[in-house]
């Protein structure tokens, strides 16, 4: 069984509002998959279904072959879960919380936890509630690393973190996952963080899955062309290769999976005069906005 996570025909509504319909995706062993989407497209909903905190209207998700609505304690012990906002038992101090969790997990490895804690300016008896958001994120990360799970599910890990802590979090996590062959399923609203962390991406919006590929494949195939139209009334939106088109007066940003030659041929065939035609190099954040739109 190569897929650690497998979601089939997942459909969910909040009341009459559709979140997603027939969502299908898989996460293979050893990969780091980032779930990307705008606010309200169902990222946290998906995480909640994966952790058994939400029953989908229809469809199912399997983790290690078990339906996530009925995960056995053995399977749960193989999953490290980071709640949005790095929520932990804030009434405990770091010594207490390490002691608490260590008894639940047979593979508990305290060294990564204490190594991370040594980087923080906190005492062992300082309550988590008195720590900064960045410090709390390191506590949550340290606990997950010490648990040594096979699968890590991280809900918006960058929330509330300053750039330094985000970088620390990502670098630690990626190094750990790659060296130990761990699988990660994560969301984040900061796409540039994802670019540094993930191997594969799944981009969803209100319509469904927009893209599922490796980051390399996606960035290689998804392109942006900028050009200026002679006649700013020229309409290209209905062209089959257009994924998204952003037009400001006569300046056009066109996003497509097609090649430059196909776009130019379309312009020629339709007698659309364009100048300053250029392919623009994108980072993942640009591509994400290009695919999902600014609004």
């Amino acid at each position: 069984m190569n897929n650690v996570i497998e979601c089939n025909n997942l459909t969910h509504y909040y009341g009459k509002k559709k979140v997603f319909e027939n969502l299908n995706f898989q996460v293979s062993k050893g990969s780091i998959l980032g779930l990307l989407g705008k606010n309200g497209t169902g990222k946290t909903t998906t995480i909640n279904i994966l952790n058994g905190f939400l029953q989908p209207r229809s469809g199912e998700c399997l983790i290690f072959g078990e339906n996530t609505q009925h995960l056995s304690p053995q399977t749960k012990s193989r999953i490290g879960f980071l709640i949005e906002g790095h929520i932990q038992y804030s009434f405990m101090n770091i010594r207490q919380i390490e002691r608490f969790y260590s008894g639940f997990y047979p593979n508990w490895k305290p060294a990564p936890f204490w190594e991370l804690m040594s980087k923080l300016d906190v005492t062992h008896t300082q309550k988590i509630s008195t720590m900064s958001c960045g410090q709390r994120s390191q506590v949550a990360l340290g606990l997950i690393l010490a648990q040594d799970p096979d699968l890590l599910i991280l809900d918006d890990f960058s929330m509330g973190l300053d750039p330094g802590y985000r970088r620390l979090f990502i670098d630690y996590l990626r190094e750990y996952a790659k060296s130990e062959n761990k699988t990660i399923f994560t969301t984040s609203h900061i796409v540039q963080d994802m670019e540094r962390l993930i191997d594969d991406l799944l981009i969803i919006d209100y319509k469904g899955v927009l893209a599922q590929a490796s980051v390399f494949q996606f960035m290689d195939s998804f392109k942006r062309f900028d050009f200026e139209l002679e006649n700013d009334k020229a309409d290209m939106k209905n062209a089959s290769f257009v994924v998204n088109l952003d037009k400001m007066k006569n300046k056009v940003e066109l996003y497509t999976y097609s090649s430059e030659s196909i776009v130019k041929k379309y312009l020629d065939d339709n007698n659309i005069k364009a100048s300053n035609f250029a392919q623009v190099k994108m980072v993942l954040e640009d591509a994400f906005i290009g695919l999902t739109g600014k609004y």
Binding site: K76, F81, I87, Y89, F91, Q96, G103, F104
Partner: protein, 223 residues
């Protein structure tokens, strides 16, 4: 021995509330007994005896809502932190059955409450034996028993209401729960509740697992 870890976590949450409540309860009992002692000294034993036996005076009535307060305090101390940022997810994610971990938490809370009541009302009984005959102390305890059961019911209902994910349901539960608790406090002469105590005990026992329903609703994603 995962139950020990669950107990450890719950203890960290409620310890100061439990200790504080128990100390206040002890102080309350002390004050009550000082009042009795004062009345014996200034009114005389015959008058006290007369007011208790023939006028229906319940010298222990200041203890009426002590256990109710205890149940609510422990329920809030134990379950409110679990609802902040939906932290209960952490407990559900522990490598235990979700209901099992909740019942462990709940059992710990109920046993803590029981110990606190045993200390408070045990002290009360001990002090009472100094001034009153055994039979009267037993009647007093029979009268107090529904109030103690109300404390447990308040704890169980508190857990149900606090863990309920939807505010409207919380409101309905609070209304029904408040009404239900009045059953335990109907004014009656000393030990008149004796025939009803077993029924109240059964009702309280049934309530003890009510929180599983709120947890079920949470896990199904109600909000």
């Amino acid at each position: 021995m995962m139950w020990k870890l669950v107990v450890y976590k719950e203890w960290l949450k409620i310890r100061w509330f439990l200790v504080g409540y128990t100390l206040l309860g002890i102080l309350g009992v002390g004050y009550l007994l000082l009042t009795v002692k004062h009345d014996f000294a200034f009114s005389g034993g015959k008058n006290i005896w007369n007011s208790i036996l023939f006028l229906g005076n319940q010298f222990f009535s200041p203890l009426k809502y002590v256990s109710l307060a205890g149940g609510l305090i422990i329920a809030i101390a134990q379950y409110f932190p679990e609802t902040v940022n939906k932290r209960i997810k952490l407990s559900f994610h522990l490598p235990l059955g979700e209901n099992k971990v909740l019942l462990m938490m709940h059992t710990f809370g109920a046993v803590s409450l029981l110990l606190s009541f045993v200390i408070i009302f045990g002290l009360f009984s001990g002090f009472c034996l100094i001034y009153f005959p055994v039979q009267m102390v037993i009647y007093s305890l029979i009268t107090i028993l529904p109030w103690v059961l109300a404390g447990f019911s308040a704890y169980f209902l508190g857990a149900l209401i606090i863990l309920e994910p939807h505010w409207m349901f919380r409101f309905y539960y609070s209304l029904v729960g408040g009404f239900f608790l009045t059953i335990f406090f109907v004014p009656a002469v000393t030990s008149a509740y004796s025939p009803a105590n077993s029924g109240l005990f059964v009702l309280t026992a049934i309530l003890s697992i009510a929180l599983l329903f709120s947890a079920y609703r949470f896990r199904k994603g109600e909000m």
